[in-house]
Subunit: 221 residues, 2 copies
DNA sequence: CGGCATCCATTTTGATACTG
DNA sequence: CAGTATCAAAATGGATGCCG
């Protein structure tokens, strides 16, 4: 372990820290908020407990992740990104944008799916210009998971958990999100076709559906 | 081989394609233009010929890399990025920017260094606003390697090889580039202190040195 | 639940020798 | 120079057992 490329290069140095298998997916999970050990086990099938523990320890040692104790009443240990870890977001989102355009297509047999991934996908497609002058809070409920998005000053933040005081609430299920990820529908169309229920401030909803630039999928060649 | 995360997620799908060891560094090399098999061997120490061949074959099969024949008089085989491969640039550059801020510091004992990496670093730090309205071509000569940069419409392209008709030429050596990468000097300071020789259009040179926003290195915590 | 330790089968990698 | 072939070392995946 701790193999290094031994290159004085910013890309190589970064990959020395986060380039090993599973590491960037752990970061991806943390981009929507702190996670417990078992949260990772649920969303990262194939990653054994031993390797997960080793990866978390490595990220902690390297100052990308901090071990925390969840506030009462949970009081259970969890992991959160440090500032350095949080700032990996642009890189992870760039990988996600590339994947949306060049690598998504249909869901393959046996592929796992979690709502949080789609929420991060929305963030990756966020278009600051479309959100100019808007300040709004949205809540997404999807199959007993809840996320929220805070839009402000042309920025978006997407996190696990309920919103404080949402301007609008969107309720839907995994199937719709999968269809969106596969490019078969859009947020606007899903609402129009009653596959997603939207309530709250109509203005905030209109702004929401125009806020994302979803890349047109392409074949690689 | 061809292990997959088995997740219907854009980030995971991308990492299925380019997340294995060495793969993104191969892409990094190709971001400054086509490379021959031996070019990779020279810049990627530790990557054996067998694994290199396997990685290139994989990238070719997946439509990220295309095998080409270099134009006369070379006529030797080489590898170039496809459109899909080229569009990995934002992700690689995002990783590089993170590394400049959070992972660079001093050059460590035994770390390799190549001018091309610094040139890519410049591209990663390029600030479109600073280059607004500028159209210029620069040539960089550093220890028997030559690169050029084309600046146009707030975009930059940095490639291996001489410029067609450079507006300015900057000549320097690895040591200066290492100092720049370590944050110990800047392009402007290096020219001022005669550690880099700049010739050509003074206007183009003034614009050049103001064109990059080099991140302030931070300690992770 | 949270997490570490251990054992083992399988993959991946690194290094080198070899060939057209 | 452009790769193949080969083999040893390391990383991973999966299971299981343990302990607070």
């Amino acid at each position: 372990m701790d193999r290094t490329y031994n290159q004085f290069c910013a890309t190589a140095r970064t990959l020395d820290l986060v380039g090993e298998r599973w590491t960037l997916l752990i970061v991806r999970e943390l981009l929507t908020g702190p996670k417990r050990f078992s949260d990772f086990q649920n969303s990262l099938r194939g990653l054994g407990t031993g390797l997960l523990a080793a990866r978390l320890k490595h990220l902690e040692r390297e100052g990308l992740v901090r071990k925390i104790t969840l506030p009462a009443p949970a009081r259970t240990p969890a992991y959160a990104l440090t500032q350095a870890g949080t700032e990996l977001a642009p890189a992870v989102l760039a990988l996600a944008r590339w994947g949306m355009k060049w690598a998504m297509g249909e869901r393959r047999e046996g592929e796992a799916f979690h709502g949080g991934w789609a929420v991060l996908g929305l963030r990756a497609c966020f278009d600051p210009e479309s959100a100019e002058g808007l300040r709004a809070m949205y809540e997404f409920r999807v199959s007993d998971e809840v996320f929220h998005a805070i839009v402000e000053n042309g920025t978006i933040e997407t996190m696990h958990g309920p919103a404080q005081r949402p301007d609008a609430v969107i309720e839907t299920d995994d199937e719709v999100l999968v269809d969106m990820a596969a490019g078969r529908t859009t947020l606007a169309a899903a609402i129009r076709e009653h596959r997603a229920q939207a309530t709250g401030d109509p203005d905030a909803l209109v702004r929401l559906v125009g806020m994302f630039r979803i890349p047109q999928p392409q074949a690689r060649k």
